[in-house]
Amino acid sequence: MEKNYTPQKEDFQFITERNLEIDSTFTSQGYWRGVFVHFTKNKFAMTGVFLVSLIIIFAVFAPLLSSYAYDEIISVTDDAGKEIVAKSLPPQFSNAVAQDYFSAKTFIFGTDDMGRDLWTRTWQGARVSLIIAFVAIFIDMLIGTTYGLISGFFGGTVDNVLQRFIEIIGSIPTLVIISILAIFMPKGIGLVIASLLITEWIGMSKIARAECLKLKEREYVLASRTLGAGSFHIIFTQILPNTIGPIITQVMFSIPVAIFTEAFLSFVGVGIVLPQCSIGSLIEAGFNNITILPYQILPPISVLAILMLGFNLIGDGFREALAPKLENL
């Protein structure tokens, strides 16, 4: 806002034909365009996008470009010219630093106690964790949204039954669900994804239901109904597109939860099994050696923290962009 506005000479001139023409109305801005503009203006959200894309880029390309495989046990030649397994080497950024150890091999994050390159393993782990999170949350989104929309749209007995079911599932602590699954399934990626599938869709369905309850009273739904549309047609072509915003926000908040759950499960020992690795299993390995080799735990923990921070920032930004408050404009 400008203070102390000094009137200009032009302010007192009559409006000419030309000026009138310039004063045009702006073209109406689409809903998603508005959301996009708000989102990109938000510094925190953009920081989140930057952090997450950084990790994703490294997770995609670093294992491909690395000269070692993530499960490769590397051997190096020591001073005496003997071949030894490169166990527990500290981080070495260049060959010059490495000279008193060995020849021509660099390990940016060092190696683990089995002689595997931690740089490759960290990014491979990030990749596994991200894949698990994306796959699980995507399926959760499909299930939860469908369930919530159906429950909200039909109401009455259907809603009652579906909601009681959710209530029961929701009152079993996640821990208990995981333990039951751990009995049924072998440890590994499948177990992690399954436990995420069972627990995370509930939040999604609650949001979809709440949105559906709001939307189903709208005129356009009634119009569609009058024109002879069936219930499922209305749900999926009229209501669903309007619930996408809140659902995406929920997805953004669910992904860090999924990454966290994976890390937690792998840490406890029911997640990823060796020689596969994930953020959680790397943290666990680092924790086991923390007193002797404290540097091993830093890379996976940093990646985890950056991912959690990034996704939370994106989620916050998205929520604000969907429903901008006046004070933030």
């Binding site: 208990v176 406890v268 923990i301 921070l309």
Partner: protein, 313 residues
Amino acid sequence: MTKYVAKRILMAALTLFAITFVLFVLIRIMPGNPFPVERMSAEMILQKRLELGLDKPILVQFADYLKMLASGSFGNGTSLYNGAPIKPIMLKCLENSFKIGVISILFGTVVGLFIGIVAAMHRGKFLDGFCTVVSILGVCIPSYVFMIFLQYFFSYKIPFFPYFFDASNFLSSAVMPALSLSLFAISTVSRFTRNEMVEVMNSDYVKLAEAKGLYGWQLMRRHVLRNALIPIVTVIAPLVVDLLTGAMVIEKIYGINGVGKLMVDAIAGQGVDYNYVLALGIVFSALYIAIMLLLDILYGIIDPRIRLAAKEG
């Protein structure tokens, strides 16, 4: 109010019953064998099955199990692996976990409230930013990572606290796990408190109170806090659940004999101990449902509107 409470209690009891049934059936119909097969002959397994009543129909087994629960013992009373009775071990573990859990929830809520209030009172200034950073840290650093760092620096580098949990020296060994568990509570409660308070502070009646000349702490206590506190009760429920999960890892890291560690041992140890999983599953669910119930009732007491809604509905 009585009707509201009675309805809630009935619902909770039904849910717990349903969960017990589901858990029981799931564990019974599971493929595979509950015994360490490689160490037992076929005859021994058969005899053991008869002994435990596993040959009976599943509903009869469930009824037997309920009877056992009602008489106060868990499972078939013993671990499948070493034959030790479950109940005393579990009680001991529950006591440890409970103490640390309660300390961290109380500490976390109080500190979180404090930070939130300070942030809201200094909205947009340096302190507010500082509080935001604290709450973001709490969200993106898992409690066990914090615990690992604490353990590394304050037990290993500077041996100030014991490296592993020591029940005989409870106070000093509870500090680190309680602190790291409360981290998440602090961040959630502070963020929520701040947002709620800012919202209330923008409301008309607070502006009126300000116009009448109330200011500072008086205004906060009499007008803002009371209304801001109501929704905060709701965030505590998820916190308790999170605590269960967090405690599981922290107990493993710090060697605390708690229920979380017991559960980890039961599912990830030498083999899955069905009796433990079942017993712990029921205890966890009961605990969780009880907390939810308590908060629901508390919420009804604090906010009269909820009671009215329940009466109408």
